[in-house]
Symmetry: C2
Subunit: 329 residues, 2 copies
Amino acid sequence: MVSIKDVAKHAGVAISTVSKVLNGYPNISEETRRKVSQAIEELNYIPNSIASALSSKQFDRIALLIDPKRQTQAIDQIFMQYLTGALDKAKELNIEVITVFISMLAGQSCAEITRYFLSQSISGVVIYGMSREDKVLQELVQSRQFSCVVIDVPYTNSRTTSVGVDHRKAQYDVAKKTIADDPCRKLLYIAGRKDGYVTDLRLEGIRKLAEEEKLHLVVKHGEFSERTARNITFEYAADADVVVCASDLMAIGAMNALIDMDIFRPVCGFDGITLMGYVGKQMNTVRQDFYAISSRAVEEVKLLMDGGEGKEVIMPHSIVKMYYKDIIV
Amino acid sequence: MVSIKDVAKHAGVAISTVSKVLNGYPNISEETRRKVSQAIEELNYIPNSIASALSSKQFDRIALLIDPKRQTQAIDQIFMQYLTGALDKAKELNIEVITVFISMLAGQSCAEITRYFLSQSISGVVIYGMSREDKVLQELVQSRQFSCVVIDVPYTNSRTTSVGVDHRKAQYDVAKKTIADDPCRKLLYIAGRKDGYVTDLRLEGIRKLAEEEKLHLVVKHGEFSERTARNITFEYAADADVVVCASDLMAIGAMNALIDMDIFRPVCGFDGITLMGYVGKQMNTVRQDFYAISSRAVEEVKLLMDGGEGKEVIMPHSIVKMYYKDIIV
DNA sequence: CTGTTAGCGCGTTCAA
DNA sequence: TTGAACGCGCTAACAG
């Protein structure tokens, strides 16, 4: 391995001079700079980022906390988009990324996780999908030991920024579009888990719509489960004009139930996953740009690491209809 | 930040003694070990892995090269499984992982990528989905600069191990199961891209079956595209008894085409993705355990980094039928 | 069994 | 404008 020392020798200058050229310091003559650059070229020198990090003690490293535990594999798509968004932005900002599945942290206390992160020189964390039950993650965020960005969780503190869409408005919008296409009087709403952060927000959205449109609103909790939504649909959908679901997976469950029941009801989902296109009928969904959200999250965690204050970031959303023909490649 | 020096002082021993305790060296008295451990405890000392890596020059770091470019979002599932398998195993083996989407390397030469990896102290690479067109990746593997594991690519050299299932046998098995259920004389086979590594292997498998069973075999290239498979099905399926596809996505395209054509033909896919369960009819697929494959890949790259020789690893597969009810949660 | 010493590769004073 | 010297936090001989 060729080190900075070799370059210095080859160029006939001191190590520190090479270092300065490398890091673009101003006080270097054109002449020396050229000599050094040439030596670097000739020796094919590659700076050792490990050593650099140790020496400068400047090392931006973040952990991406992803939770595949309460999802079926069908929505891995969302996490892949989260990942690509984060990785792209991280590379742009020259931040190192450690991808961590929350399952890998299972059973560990907040202190242990903190320990692990510190030993890895991680100073920022982006959390995708923290639930109210994740007590350790809550603790982690509240400890303010790390710069945190939480996705879709309405919580901020001095070192924590939240990034997400306006779930209240999004749910309102997507449902409104659905009933605009098919007028309705009675609406079945399949909500998420009772204690979910977004559940209440989305519920507020649908309540507002029901009030405005003077709809008879029936609310059932589908627990974000396809099967539960399916069962709820079997029980209550015949009696409703429209079925609105707080997640795509539940919408798919509802749709399949309706097919089995052999009745038609307009259904809308929420997340905007491709899978929606495969279920045969078109459905409205919120277009959440997971890539953009994640990209923004990394930007925000960087700001925090640079000393910024935690804040709330609302990303825009739009509404789309999913067709099979738009998805097939 | 509390360092090893503080611990040494606090425990009243030398720095190296602390280091030895930390790394579990044998020649340490129980007494000292206890003292040091206590000091570590009291100061809440966390070893700096960066410094450790620099000093020991031992730093197992691998890059996961993932290519979402030629896939629809529908099969992100495969990549998530690859990821979890790799990350879990990496944590077990204490290997650091850098996740890289191949798109992030687009336009870079082999030398530039090599440079980047070296600067990141990456010594091992796992490549998921390398095609014959990826000239730079080919070059990278052939350069032997890094310990490489390629997934589903039948190439090995002194520093390259290949991991994958036996595509020939797998294709044979899944198709055989399909025609066992529904006897057939004429079989439409929708193959992958003409230049794909696995395309030929799978083709061999189906050819062998056709010969054994004396089937009339019609082969068309679906380019691993759902739409192309759909079009091929429209054109040729009416004339066949069974449709065998070299990928799940193509199987889905074929199935949807058959539904539109309003005729029934048994269809089988290959990859075993959950999405198969959503298309309405049951289909046979190869059960590839992506998690296990990826986990094994990381083990293998570790062996290579420790000086092992490249080799070929064949992972087992089984055949399953996909039902919606097995998938819904 | 323990402590001393010499680096790992680099960034950063501070003189010259 | 340049370079010698020191230190980042740790590991690994070697000496005691």
